[in-house]
Symmetry: C2
Subunit: 400 residues, 2 copies
């Protein structure tokens, strides 16, 4: 048993949670029955799979079915926004076991913010009675560009003091586990991707809130680009933006025209009762025509950018999330009007533009996925299994 | 030896052509020395690796170095344009062993065109004295969108009679091997990607000729999108295009303003001596100011689209190829002016915009890569190695 090849593939199959026999697993993976049994034994040693009672069996034979055991270990997930954080503990299937939703000022700087995140993770672990030793990894989303390989923010415009800060190192002051960091919209895209069955292998998740950003899944993989800036669509210029200054220093960016503060500000003179994004959403829901017109126009502006995204990425789904998605069909109608009216037939033939199917935990779930995928990656699984092998070998040697 | 895990990984390491000892391979892959030896023996049986003479060895010991043996089998590659084709035979490292460059009218329809391609492949195989049995796979590029999974063109605008045609099936009338089909710009992007050392994992290859298109490599993988239309940037609208009709039926597309025929047509009234793209390129090279200004403006127009591509894809290299790239630095200067002037600092900090480094074989090389990657993919390698295993096992059994 010098090679542990196949254990990862077996685990991938079993991660859907369905109980299966060794024969079924051999059929699905194309691996030899003996290999499957060896790998399953090793995965059982790690606690990652367990035998399950076979409810359909009527005979007296013991159960031969096994299943993924997602509760054996946990990961921590944190979705940090500019003024708010969601922090949770998830099992290895990404199910949220405990969560806290709390105000947080990202401008307080990384030491203070991350100390608070660490304290919340410890408190949540205690709350569900899991020791720190059960924690396999931490996934963390930040409201700005992040160099994913190092976990360091890269020139984040809204996060003073965070540029190039060693976020994983700071988190490891309390937890000796891998820490995976990514942009908040990227983790939302991962969460949205995971919540869709069957999976949508080519999709764009668009967050429309104070800022506008997107996370791109191509071929089932999150796209980060050379510097972690892929999907950063908020500062693409649009026709109606000519001359409008953006907080980024340029003019004409879609975010400066169609972000929530821009829509609200444009309405505010004529409609002093609309002073905030939540006012705006309330009015849209109440059928207020001014508010509906403004949101639909914002949809057209965003559609102009998404139209280009469609030509470049060719997704089959565009999912709209973020605060403004709560304005419902009016934002979507504006987006659809432009994208279906302008894109090439091939690229839009099968394209669905719809509201995000995920709830407010979408970022939390995405962050947990980052952590779980890292913890169960083939190379880490292999090294754990090699240790199991070594124990087996030594045990076997002692028996001789 | 029920699992052949590791053979693919070993072969991937060796594909750079460098001779290595089994110990070196064990160090590089982290595999056990005994596993490496078993897998190498199996790969030798297939002829994919061979022992090589150890020039640095001064002692009398036999060579222990082994290397990839790319000449053991061949693939065929074809890069079909609207009016021209390059067809070649390549070894398993992608080196072109024989090629032919020939006029071809894609509008003759798939039966006639593909019969000609098959005849050329047979002739080239004969020319280098390789039997058909040596052919492992065929890679083929077409001047339009292709559904890569089925190898069928998807509504190609310039290819009457080709829509949804079973290209692989037609090719297999002569060759019983896998046939991989893709868009011509996608295979050029693959060829450009392969010709860069060290590899550029996030890049966009842009073809500027009669049409304008791009192939996108993200994280080292060619992006195809949901319908094979990813990178289809020619029909993105630009500011200067308002009202200009495009052959696609829409107005304002970048291709209708900055494609070679558009530039030439716009110049032709004032400059009757510039009647074709090659006239235009000649004049630019001769320092003609009208021609230079027109090409630079086309660069700015293309830059407007690429600026958006940079925000969405975040590449570290944009490589400009196709006929118009022969106009040299003037096209690039226009592109750079707009992209560096407008994109966010993070996305352009490390961005290089330059001419394609590949020669006219770039599409041919890309098509050969499609074929080679398919032929040496883990699942096909595994099934071949299982056959070798079975032979070994039966041989071993006979010895007992």
């Amino acid at each position: 048993m010098s090679s542990v090849g196949g254990a990862y593939e077996l685990l991938q199959v079993m991660r859907d949670g369905k109980p299966r026999t060794r024969s079924q697993l051999a059929d699905i993976t194309g691996m030899a029955r003996t290999t499957v049994s060896l790998r399953i034994d090793a995965l059982r040693e790690l606690g990652l799979v367990v035998p399950v009672s076979d409810a359909t069996s009527t005979g007296g034979r013991p159960s031969s079915q096994i299943a993924f055991n997602p509760g054996t270990r946990v990961v921590a997930a944190a979705d940090l926004g500019a003024t708010h954080a969601r922090i949770g503990i998830c099992d290895l299937s990404g199910a949220v076991l405990a969560r806290v939703s709390t105000p947080l000022e990202i401008t307080d700087g990384p030491e203070k913010v991350l100390a608070s995140v660490r304290a919340q993770i410890s408190a949540l672990l205690a709350q569900i009675g899991r020791p720190q030793a059960d924690l396999l990894a931490i996934g963390l989303g930040l409201p700005g560009p992040v160099q994913h390989s190092s976990g360091r923010p890269a020139r984040p415009p809204l996060m003073p003091g965070w540029d190039n800060f060693d976020v994983p190192g700071e988190m490891r002051k309390s937890f000796a586990v891998p820490v995976l960091v990514d942009n908040d919209v990227n983790i939302m895209a991962l969460g949205e991707y995971r919540s869709r069955q069957p999976p949508t292998e080519n999709m764009i998740f668009v967050k429309v809130a104070t800022g506008i950003g997107s996370g791109i899944i191509s071929d089932g993989r999150l796209q980060r680009g050379a510097d972690g800036a892929a999907g950063d669509i908020g500062h693409i210029p649009i026709a109606r933006g000519a001359g409008v200054p953006c907080r980024c220093g340029k003019t004409g960016c879609v975010e400066a025209i169609a972000g929530a503060p821009a829509i609200t500000a444009a309405l505010h003179t004529a409609r002093p009762d609309i002073a905030s994004a939540s006012d705006l959403i309330d009015r849209v829901r109440a059928g207020d025509l001014d508010a509906i017109r403004a949101v639909r126009q914002a949809g057209r502006d965003i559609g102009e950018v998404l139209n280009t995204c469609v030509s470049i990425v060719n997704p089959s789904v565009i999912a709209i999330g973020g605060l403004m998605a709560q304005a419902g069909e009016h934002l979507l109608a504006g987006i659809r009007e432009v994208v279906y009216g302008s894109s090439t037939p091939l690229a839009t033939e099968h394209l669905v533009i719809e509201q995000s199917r995920s709830g407010p935990d979408v970022g939390l779930i995405g962050a947990s996925i980052l952590a779980i995928e890292h913890a169960l990656a083939p190379e880490r699984l292999d090294s754990k299994l090699r240790n199991v092998d070594a124990e087996f070998a030594s045990h076997f040697h002692n028996m001789l």
